[in-house]
């Protein structure tokens, strides 16, 4: 059975079947479903190799993920995959493990496999690493805080102003001694968040206190160990701003283990708003990152280039908005803050 047989059986043109296979989103739902049914019944699969030669496209994209176990990245990855799936593309997911060497190797492998484009989440690669890909004309989109920015299509948020707003909120609700547990992973995100923290303190006329700035591993364990040290300080902080929800979860655990309570003794603020942050007790006040949307936009920018909609003259940047998600872990004066 080939594409002509399918078209004949469905009573449509070969072009329509081709559209179902290549651009399903452009075909009316009813028509698409009936053609897909016939395709499934006939167990017809296009000859992908031939298609690669025909269209000079493999209908595959590469997705580099810093840490596959980190739920933050999984939400973004799902955003990418959601769009790719709609476009009938297959996504190769590469787990980089925060290792630039592994990331570099994966980049080469994806190029050798002739993927049509590559999305990198929070990449720690340098400009030089992309040289070959750029020369081969492989479209690249960067998502989240990446080491290189200019010259690339990218989707991100303003980490600095988001952190500044979050710490500003802690100060507004009465916390004067605010510490930060800052993730020490690669990438620029955490540096920007730290800068935001410092600016918020400065704007409130509070001086920063060195023991309150602590670098920890970006994990629950890292948060636990860091918060434990902060609890043991003679001048214990009233609030801890963390650069990720994972660190915040660990910090809350450590505070409880010290027989202290959140938020009565120490307030804890997260960053990311992963799903679990709404389930822990007390529910975590955090910065809502548009994680899924970042993935969706990363894929959109990539497909705009792959499908030739965008003239590649100027790289496009899409900045998305974060939002302070007020819950219970920092205390608050007004319930209305939780509503919107």
């Amino acid at each position: 059975m080939n594409i002509r047989h399918i078209a004949k059986k469905a009573g449509v043109s070969v072009a329509t079947v081709s559209r179902v296979l290549n651009h399903p989103e452009t075909v009316a739902l009813k028509t698409r479903e009936s053609i897909e049914k016939i395709i499934a019944e006939a167990e017809y699969t296009p000859n992908w190799f031939a298609r690669g030669l025909n269209f000079n496209k493999t209908r595959t994209i590469g997705l580099m993920i810093p840490q596959i176990l980190n739920p933050v990245h999984m939400e973004t990855a799902k955003g990418v995959e959601d769009v790719a799936h709609q476009k009938a593309y297959t996504t190769f997911m590469c787990n980089v493990e925060d290792d630039p060497n592994k990331e570099r190797r994966y980049l080469n492998q994806l190029m050798q496999r002739k993927v049509d484009g590559i999305i990198l989440i929070c990449s720690s690669l340098e400009e030089n690493d992309f040289k070959a890909a750029i020369e081969q004309g492989i479209p690249i989109v960067l998502v989240g805080g990446c080491k290189v920015n200019p010259g690339f299509n990218m989707v991100s948020v303003n980490f600095q102003s988001s952190a500044q707003k979050a710490v500003g909120h802690l100060i507004d609700i009465g916390h004067q001694r605010v510490a930060i547990l800052c993730g020490n992973s690669q990438g620029v995100e955490n540096e920007e968040k730290l800068r935001g923290y410092k600016i918020a303190l400065e704007k409130a006329g509070l001086s920063s206190y060195e023991p309150y700035v602590m670098y920890v591993e970006n994990s629950i364990e890292g948060g636990y160990l860091g918060a434990k040290k902060l609890c043991e300080l003679k001048r214990r902080p009233q609030a801890i701003f963390t650069t990720s929800d994972m660190i915040a979860f660990g910090a809350m655990d450590a505070i409880k283990d010290q027989s202290l309570s959140v938020p009565a003794d120490i307030a804890v603020m997260g960053f990311d708003n992963v799903r679990m942050s709404n389930l822990v007790e007390p529910k975590l006040t955090t910065v809502d990152m548009p994680l899924h949307k970042m993935g969706v936009y990363g894929a959109r920018l990539l497909f705009d280039i792959i499908e030739g909609e965008e003239a590649m003259e100027e790289p496009r940047t899409i900045l998305l908005q974060t939002k302070l998600r007020i819950r219970k872990s920092c205390g608050h004066k007004e319930r209305i803050g939780e509503m919107f």
Binding site: E25, T26, V27, A28, L29, G79, V83, Q86, K87, P290, H292, K293, V296, Y297, R300, E309, R316, T317, I318, L319, L320, Q321, K323, I336, G337, M339, F340
Partner: protein, 369 residues
Amino acid sequence: MMKTEFLGLKMKTPLIVAAGPWNRDGKRLKAALDAGAGAVVTESVVSDIRLDVRPRIAYDGAGAQNIHLYSDIQIEGWERELDIAKSGGGIVIASVSAHTPSEVAYLATKMERFGADAIEISVSNPMGEALEVAASHPQVVFDITKEVVSNVKIPVTVKLSQNTTNISAVAKAVKKAGGAGVSAINSIRCILGVDIETGRPKLSTYGGYSGPPIRPIGLASVATIAQTVDIPISGIGGVENYKNVLEYIMMGASSVQVGTTVMIHGMNRITQIVTELEQWAETKDIESVCQIRGTALRKLKSFDEIKIEPATSTVAGVPCTVDCHKCTSVCMYDAVSKKDGNIFIEKDNCTGCGLCTFVCPAGKLVLNW
């Protein structure tokens, strides 16, 4: 035909079907156009769809509360939906909603490419957004509008909200940023009511209030914008018949949008309003909206300009056979009394407040001013 031009688009009638769940896909947009609408606005297209809560639309016979969040069709799917919507011709305006200039601009450029005739930026939804809607901040609206205007070739209008302190400042920002028009007003943040037996609100969170009760607020907003900035306005809020359409036009609108009445009464309501509007225009020999636009606006006065005339209520025909005492019970000045179907006005007591003339169901009282 009562023609109009809005955003540079020539329309056969000023009636537009507004953004909302009733315009959720191509099929419904086309149905609204087929019913006679001059143009249709898509449900607000967003970057990433969110699951709808249940229930999400409540109605109390007067107004509706809606906590529905935007289109559940991803932007990619709107290429197909716009094709369907436009398959019979007609003007389709794409409503897009997002939070940053680059994000709104992305959605707008996509919808332009898919064939939208204009963009309506929604920065004023009262559901699920911040306590202060984005449209409260003229600078934010300016930045978003400017980014969109510089990325698309089709005209751009911005939907404004009464949930803001100074709607005219926002309208000015739209004009300054190159917007071709404004639409006003969006629904107003509300809680429709409380079930006193269960102590539970009618819907589980704050929503947008729409329907006839918000019409006076919409009219005031349109008038305010029209008296502030020279920009085409699409009047929205509580329109349910052709008279309401004319009210908005006479307050300065170039086009008028309906939504809730279509949701409650169906697409036939569009045909009915358009037909009755045509009939009215024919009897008055009016061919274009611009012949009547702003006529009431010019009669809107400041307190200083209002001449205080010694007008009092007068009785226009007796006996009054209606068994009611509304005229006597509303009179705060002990000026109205009623006996055996006769209404008496105590001229010395009547201060000309006019309330009895509005509440009398039989139209037996008048105040000449």
